[in-house]
C-alpha cells in the first residue's frame, strides 16, 4: 500500500482534515505501541535473558508444569460449562418472552462490573470453612475453597458472559423465522437446534469459546482469592507467575508469562480468522471491491 493511502478515508466526501486524520492515527498507534507492543516484546526479552535452555528449564520445572496442567484443566472444565450456559441463556433470551428477561440480560454482564477479587471473596464466604455451606461441606469431606472446585467456580464466574453475549447478538440478528420454518416442516426441538440454529451461530459460538478460554486461562484476581496459592497444587499459571516474581525469579516468571502471552496471540489470530467467517456477505463484497480498486 502506498504511503498516501494510509489515511485514505473510507467514505470519500465525508472526511476530516488531513491533520486530524493523521493525528488520530498517530495517537491510536502510539497507544498500542506503549501499552501492548512494548510490554509484549519485553516479556520475551526477559524470558530469554538467560538463553533458551534456561527458558525451557523454567517451563519444565515441576511447579511450572503443575501450574500449566492446572490451568488447562480449569479451562477444560469451565469453558464447556460456560458454553452450555451461554447457549441456554442466549436461547432463552432471544427465543422466549418471560418475566425477568431484562434482569437476566443485565445479570449476564455482572462479571464485567464486579471486581474479580470481590467475586472470589463471595465464593470464599459461601463455601469456605466459616462460610454458609462450610459446615455442610466439611461434614461431607468436600473441599471447595483452596482446591480445584473453588478455582473452577471462580473461573466460571468471571468468564461466563463471553459465549452468551456473542450468541445473543447473532441470534437476535438472525431472528426466529428459520426455526419457525423448521418446526413447521416437522423438526423437533433437537433437530431444530442441531440442524438450523447451531450451524447459524457456529462461528459466534467458536468466537465466544475462544474469548472465554483466554479469560479462563488468564484470570488472576478471583482465582488468587479462592485458590490459597499453594505452589504446585492450587497455583494456576497467572498465580505462578506472580509467586515466581515475588521470589525475584524474574527470568522464570517471564518464561511462564510468555506462555500466557502466546495464548493471547493465538486468541487474537483465531478471532481474526473467525471474524472473517462471521462477517456478512455484503461486507465481504465491499472489501473485495476495495481490494480490486487499490
Amino acid at each position: 500500500m502506498a504511503g498516501h493511502r494510509v489515511s485514505r478515508p473510507i467514505r470519500p466526501g465525508l472526511t476530516e482534515p488531513y491533520a486530524v486524520r493523521v493525528g488520530l492515527i498517530v495517537v491510536a498507534l502510539a497507544f498500542l505501541v506503549v501499552f501492548l507492543f512494548v510490554p509484549f516484546v519485553f516479556i520475551f526479552v526477559e524470558a530469554l535473558r538467560n538463553g533458551w535452555s534456561a527458558y525451557v528449564g523454567a517451563i519444565e520445572s515441576p511447579e511450572s508444569l503443575a501450574a500449566i496442567w492446572l490451568t488447562v484443566l480449569v479451562a477444560a472444565l469451565s469453558v464447556p460449562a460456560n458454553a452450555l450456559f451461554g447457549i441456554a441463556a442466549a436461547w432463552a433470551i432471544t427465543r422466549f418472552d418471560f418475566r425477568g428477561k431484562r434482569l437476566l440480560t443485565t445479570l449476564i454482564d455482572l462479571p464485567f462490573a464486579v471486581s474479580p477479587v470481590v467475586a472470589g471473596l463471595i465464593f470464599v464466604q459461601l463455601f469456605g470453612r466459616q462460610g454458609w455451606f462450610g459446615a455442610w461441606l466439611s461434614n461431607h469431606d468436600i473441599r471447595v475453597i483452596f482446591a480445584l472446585p473453588g478455582i473452577v467456580l471462580a473461573t466460571i464466574f468471571v468468564s461466563f458472559p463471553f459465549v452468551a453475549r456473542e450468541l445473543i447478538a447473532v441470534m437476535e440478528a438472525s431472528g426466529r423465522e428459520e426455526e419457525e420454518a423448521a418446526g413447521l416442516l416437522g423438526a423437533n426441538g433437537w433437530q431444530m437446534f442441531r440442524r438450523v440454529t447451531l450451524p447459524n451461530v457456529k462461528w459466534a459460538l467458536i468466537s465466544g469459546v475462544i474469548l472465554c478460554t483466554a479469560r479462563a486461562m488468564g484470570e488472576f484476581g478471583a482465582v488468587s482469592v479462592v485458590s490459597g496459592r499453594i505452589r504446585g497444587e492450587t497455583a494456576t499459571m497467572p498465580i505462578h507467575v506472580e509467586i515466581l516474581y515475588n521470589e525475584y525469579a524474574f527470568q522464570a516468571s517471564f518464561a511462564v508469562a510468555s506462555l500466557l502471552a502466546l495464548v493471547a496471540v493465538f486468541t487474537l489470530v483465531m478471532q481474526t480468522v473467525v471474524a472473517r467467517r462471521t462477517r456478512p456477505v455484503v461486507a465481504d463484497e465491499a472489501l473485495a471491491a476495495e481490494l480490486i480498486e487499490s
Binding site: E180, A181, L184, L185, G186, P199
Partner: protein
C-alpha cells in the same frame, strides 16, 4: 383440506390484534387476507399455522380441532415474507429438510427423497440451481425455493405471509400468475396475507378484508370492489373519490348531486358518497347533477386517461375516462368542467 377458525381473539399487551374472528375456508379455496398493517391478518395466519396461539377460540383443520397442536403437528405449509430459507443449506437440502427430519419409521429412503426434491425443483423451474446456497439466488428464486420446501412435506393447507412483499414489481407479477397456475394444478387450500389490494383481487377466489382486528368484509374480489360493505372497504379497495353531504327527506345530498337513500327518522345526518374514478363522467356543459371542477392534470394510461381535478373546495378528484371520451372532450389544464357520478355508494356517518 378445510380450515375453520372459531371466535379467535388475540391481544399483545394492550394491543387487540384479533377480536373474535370466525372464518370457514372450504377445501381448495384460494383466499386472501387483505388489510393495512396492524389489522390482524398476519396474526390470524400465524394462529392457523400454530406459530402463535389465540387467547380464546379454536382452529379446525379438516374438521379436526388443532387448537392444542403446535406448528409441528399441523402439517401446514408456510411461506414467509422474507423466505426464511436455511441459509447454510443448499437449495436441494432446503427442500429436502422436511423429509429428512421425519421420524425414522416415516422417513423416505434417500432415493425417494432425491426423487421428490428433483420433482419439486423441476416444478419451480430451478432444478439447475440445486446446489446453490440461498444467498446466491435472486429474491424471486428464493421465494420459489421456499414454496417448494413447504410443498415437499405434502401439507394439507398452504399459508403464505406476504409472499411477494419483498420482491420488485416485475418479479412479483410473474410469480403471482405462476402461483395462481400452481394452485389451479394442485388444488391445495391456500391462504395468503397481503396489504396489496391489487394482488388480493387478482389472485384470490375470495377476499377477507381486515381492519383493527375485525373482518370488514368477506366476499369475492368483484363483491368487495363493486359492493363495499363499509366505508373502510370502499376507501381501502381501489381508488375512490369521497363526497361529503347529508341525509334528509329520503335522499342523500351532495351539493347538486342528489341520490335516493333511506334517511334516519330524526333530522339530518352526515353522509359520505364514494365513487371510483371510472364512475365519474366529465362534461363541458352543466347537464344537471354535476359539480363543477377545474382540470389540473391529465395523463394517459393505456386505453384510459387519468384526469385530476379540483372541486370548488379545493379537494382533489380522480377521474378515469377512455381515450376517445378524452379526445372528444378536448379539455386542457385550468379549464372548468362538470363532474357527474354515474354511480355513488352512500354511507351514513355517525354524528361526530
Amino acid at each position: 383440506m378445510s380450515i375453520e377458525v372459531r371466535n379467535a381473539t388475540r391481544a399483545f399487551g394492550s394491543f387487540q390484534a384479533l377480536r373474535g374472528i370466525n372464518l370457514m375456508i372450504p377445501t381448495g379455496q384460494f383466499l386472501a387476507l387483505l388489510g393495512p398493517s396492524g389489522s390482524g391478518k398476519t396474526t390470524l395466519l400465524r394462529i392457523i399455522a400454530g406459530l402463535d396461539r389465540a387467547d380464546e377460540g379454536n382452529v379446525f383443520i379438516n374438521g379436526q380441532d388443532a387448537t392444542a397442536q403446535g406448528a409441528r403437528g399441523r402439517n401446514v405449509g408456510f411461506v414467509f415474507q422474507h423466505y426464511a430459507l436455511f441459509r447454510h443449506m443448499s437449495v436441494f437440502e432446503n427442500v429436502a429438510f422436511g423429509l429428512r427430519v421425519r421420524p425414522r419409521d416415516r422417513r423416505p429412503s434417500e432415493a425417494q427423497i432425491r426423487a421428490r426434491v428433483d420433482e419439486l425443483l423441476t416444478l419451480i423451474q430451478l432444478d439447475f440451481l440445486a446446489h446453490r446456497l440461498p444467498s446466491e439466488l435472486s429474491g424471486g428464486q428464493r421465494q420459489r425455493v421456499a414454496l417448494a420446501r413447504a410443498l415437499a412435506v405434502q401439507p394439507s393447507v398452504l399459508l403464505l405471509d406476504e409472499p411477494f412483499g419483498a420482491l420488485d414489481a416485475k418479479v412479483r407479477q410473474e410469480l403471482r400468475s405462476w402461483l395462481r397456475r400452481l394452485h389451479d394444478e394442485i388444488g391445495l387450500t391456500s391462504v395468503f396475507v397481503t396489504h396489496d389490494q391489487e394482488e388480493a383481487l387478482e389472485l384470490a377466489d375470495r377476499v377477507i378484508i381486515f381492519n383493527q382486528g375485525v373482518i370488514e368484509q368477506d366476499g369475492t374480489p368483484e363483491e368487495v370492489v363493486e359492493h363495499p360493505a363499509t366505508p373502510f372497504v370502499a376507501n381501502f379497495v381501489g381508488r375512490v373519490n369521497v363526497f361529503h353531504g347529508r341525509l334528509e327527506f329520503g335522499k342523500a345530498w351532495f351539493g347538486p348531486v342528489v341520490v335516493d337513500h333511506p334517511t334516519p327518522l330524526k333530522g339530518a345526518i352526515r353522509a359520505e358518497g364514494y365513487a371510483r374514478p371510472h364512475e365519474l363522467d366529465i362534461t363541458r356543459e352543466d347537464v344537471g347533477g354535476g359539480l363543477w371542477a377545474t382540470v389540473r392534470h391529465a395523463s394517459p394510461a393505456g386505453a384510459l386517461v387519468k384526469v385530476d381535478l379540483t372541486d370548488p373546495d379545493g379537494r382533489l378528484l380522480h377521474v378515469e375516462i377512455t381515450r376517445e371520451q378524452f379526445e372528444a372532450l378536448a379539455v386542457s389544464a385550468g379549464e372548468r368542467v362538470y363532474v357527474r357520478p354515474t354511480r355513488l355508494r352512500v354511507f351514513a356517518r355517525e354524528r361526530s
